[in-house]
Each structure stands twice: as structure tokens, then as C-alpha cells.
């Protein structure tokens, strides 16, 4: 037995110590003094009736404890978990939180999801107004009016989504329901993505999945013009 400086084993549990002491005591008595042992065993023998029964009871106890040890041995196995340095530390991509917000299942709830839907719509609305104001070089009010009228984009879904107050378009068009039915997107997600695409078109930001990949340059260009 080792005296290891571990919190768990530095001080052995009382139960273990008692068990160990009892074991040593019985062994010592068995070796040194045959008399008392013989007396005890004979008393037990009269109690159990036969040698076999006495031994079998001891064996049964051992068997049961052994099976218990077998069953619990897996829970007891512990080992250190070293870090995983292979991959770069994982952080969310910029804008991922918006995607999560739009894909949130709570957006599907008819009444209670209103707040969630409104948050998505509000963020898109703000960006759309700003984008239109910049691209048309007009006042914020004019841009807001154009967004409300839906004349800022050719995309019907996006135009309708930002034109109405939240939940006015709850009766999603067929395409939206189709997207939902095939299990790809919630209506909010579908409309948000269409709207982002529409805003990106107006802003001149090429989306990577549309192939152009020159987004930053164009965006910077528009900014230079703005200054």
C-alpha cells in the first residue's frame, strides 16, 4: 500500500481501515491462537448445522461482493482528459448568431414567437434602410419610405417582409411553406435569407455562395464614393 499525497487516498476512508484491521486481526488470531478460533467456528458450526453451509455462506458473500465490484468497476475508472490542440480554437463566425436567431424554433410559435420574429425583422429593416440611403444617396426618411413601400428591391418576398409590421405576413406564401415542409428552413429563416440577399444586391456586396467573391472590394468602393 502506498502513502500517496492524493486527496482521495491520503486519508483512507474509515470503512476501509476498519475492514483492513478486522482482516489482519482474524488472520493473526487464526495463525497465533488456534483455540478461540476453533471455539468460534464450532459455535458457528452448530448454528449453521454443517461445515458446507458455513463455508457456502462465506463464499456467497464473496461472490455477491465480487459481482458488485464487477458491475461498479466501470464507473470507478477515471483518467485525465488532456486538451485537444489539433484544431484552431473554435469561435463562431461573424453573423452566425443572426442565423441562429432566424432559425430559432421559437420563431415558429404563433403568439409567443412574436418577439423573436420582430427582432429578426427589426435588424434587417435597419440594415435595409441604411443600405438604401447609401446606395441612393438619399435621406434616411426617404429610404425608410422606399423600404415601407417595397420599391427598394425586385425581390417580392424581401419587399413584403420588410414592408409590413411583424406577423402581418404570417400567411407565408407557398414557396415559404414548401421550404418548411421539406424541412430545410423555417418561414422566418427563409424570408430573412431572401431579404439579406436583396440587401446585398443593393449594397453591391457579392455573396460568396453566389460565386463572385469580390464583395469587399465593391463595398469599399461604395464607401470611398460616400466620403
Amino acid at each position: 500500500m502506498t502513502a500517496a499525497p492524493s486527496t482521495e487516498n491520503r486519508v483512507a476512508p474509515v470503512g476501509r481501515v476498519l475492514l483492513g484491521l478486522a482482516g489482519i486481526l482474524v488472520l493473526a488470531v487464526a495463525v497465533v491462537a488456534d483455540g478461540p478460533v476453533r471455539g468460534t467456528v464450532n459455535a458457528l458450526l452448530t448454528l449453521f448445522g454443517s461445515e458446507y453451509l458455513l463455508v457456502a455462506v462465506i463464499g456467497l458473500v464473496a461472490f455477491v461482493v465480487g459481482v458488485a465490484a464487477f458491475v461498479t468497476s466501470r464507473e470507478a475508472a477515471t483518467q485525465a482528459a488532456p486538451p485537444d490542440p489539433e484544431r484552431a480554437v473554435a469561435v463562431p463566425a461573424p453573423g452566425e448568431s443572426f442565423d441562429e436567431m432566424a432559425a430559432d424554433w421559437r420563431c415558429l410559435l404563433p403568439g409567443a414567437g412574436r418577439e423573436h420574429r420582430a427582432a429578426v425583422q427589426e435588424r434587417l429593416h435597419r440594415t435595409a434602410v441604411e443600405t438604401v440611403a447609401v446606395s441612393d444617396d438619399c435621406a434616411r426618411e426617404t429610404a425608410a419610405r422606399r423600404v415601407a413601400e417595397g420599391t427598394w428591391t425586385a425581390d417580392d418576398v424581401a419587399a413584403a417582409y420588410l414592408a409590413e409590421p411583424t406577423d402581418a405576413t404570417d400567411a407565408t406564401d407557398e414557396e415559404g411553406w414548401f421550404e418548411l415542409l421539406v424541412g430545410r428552413q423555417t418561414p422566418t429563416q427563409y424570408r430573412a435569407e431572401r431579404t439579406v440577399s436583396a440587401i446585398a444586391d443593393v449594397a453591391g456586396v457579392a455573396q460568396r455562395d453566389e460565386g463572385a467573391g469580390e464583395g469587399s472590394e465593391e463595398a469599399d468602393g461604395s464607401e470611398e464614393a460616400d466620403r
Binding site: G23, I24, A30, V37, V41, V65, S73, Q79
Partner: protein, 229 residues
Amino acid sequence: MSAQPVRRRPATSSGTLAVLVASGVALVLGSGAVRTGLAIELAGLAGIATGFTVWRRERKRWSLVLAGLGFVGCLVGVVAFLGRAPGPSAAIQSLPAMLGVPVLAAALVPVRGSGSRTLVKLGVGSVFLTVLLAGFFRSATPDVLLGATAASVVAWDAGEQAIGLGEQLGRSATTWQLELVHVGATGLVAVAAVGGVYATRTVATGTPSFAGFTATAVALLLLVVALRP
């Protein structure tokens, strides 16, 4: 070149050794036709393992053929064993080992997942059950029982070590020295245990008194539980 995530598969050498030792125990304790059935089953297992290994190297057709043949081999082994066992006790005795070795292999084959300690325990536990049954049916000599018990412990230790190494270091890491030393040490302890018991049994004659025997058994029971690792 893309990022290389750690592949947490049980270490190959220790895992293979565990399965081989467990198979050895099963073979030694089997008798007659049972032994033949076991041999066919083990060949089938080897076929499945090879099939999966080849799968990883993207030769899918060959791997499927091999794994399929291995599976058929396993089935043939079990059926042959069931049909031609010399008696019910022989069948009952070898059945746990016959099921346990594939379970152990499934826990350690580095194909998918990080292995399973539960399956290692069940697999080796089944093999050890065969050892106990062999003792119960008196179908093996005490020396064989002694060796089989020690070998079961070695198989379990190697299997657990394979999984632990896989979890902490993954299978791409070089670990053979460590595995060799670990399993070597366990093997030495096993040999020492077997040798010690064997020597004691040869030297010690005469039967102890019943009272002394009972007291010793109780004392050992208490001590072992107190010292549990």
C-alpha cells in the same frame, strides 16, 4: 492540406494483443469440436477486422467481400460448435467465451468510436465466466485454470490500456514502447502469480484444520475488500 483532428481509436497493438490472449484462453478451454468451431469463428473475426482495415484505405469492394466472408465464418463457427458439441456441459462452458471474444473484438477494433470499456468488461468477463465454468465442471486441470485466469486479467488490462491510450493520444501517436512496457509488466506479475501459486501448491502438503481454513477465508475476504484498488 486540411487540419488533422485526433482520431480517438483504441491503440492497435494493445487491442490486438487483448483479443489474441482472450482467444487463446477460449481455445485452451474448448474441447474437440468446440475448438474447431472457435477456430473458424476467430478466422472469421480476423476476416472482418481485415475488411474494415482495408475499408479505411478506400478499397471498399474488397473490404466488403472480406468482411462478408468473415461474418459467414463466424456464423459457421457458432453453428458447427452448436451442432457438434460433445455434451451439454461442454457447450455451456464454451458458449460465453465464444460470444465474449467477438464482443471484446468489437470493443477494440479501431474502426469507429473510441472503443468501449463496457464491452471490454463484458467480453473479458464472458471469457472469465468460461474459466469459472471449466473449474465448476472440472473440465480443466488446476494448472490450466490458473493460467487461464491470469491470461484473462492480462487480456482485460491490455484492452483497457488500448482504450485509455486511444482516448488520450489517438491512434496516430507513437505509443508502442509504452504499450510494450505496460503489458510486459502485467505479464510479469501474471507469471509471478502463477509461479507462486504453483510453487506453494507443490510445497504445501497436509490439509489445514477446518477452523483455520474458514478464518483465513474470512480474513482474505476482508483484506481484499479493504485494499480494493
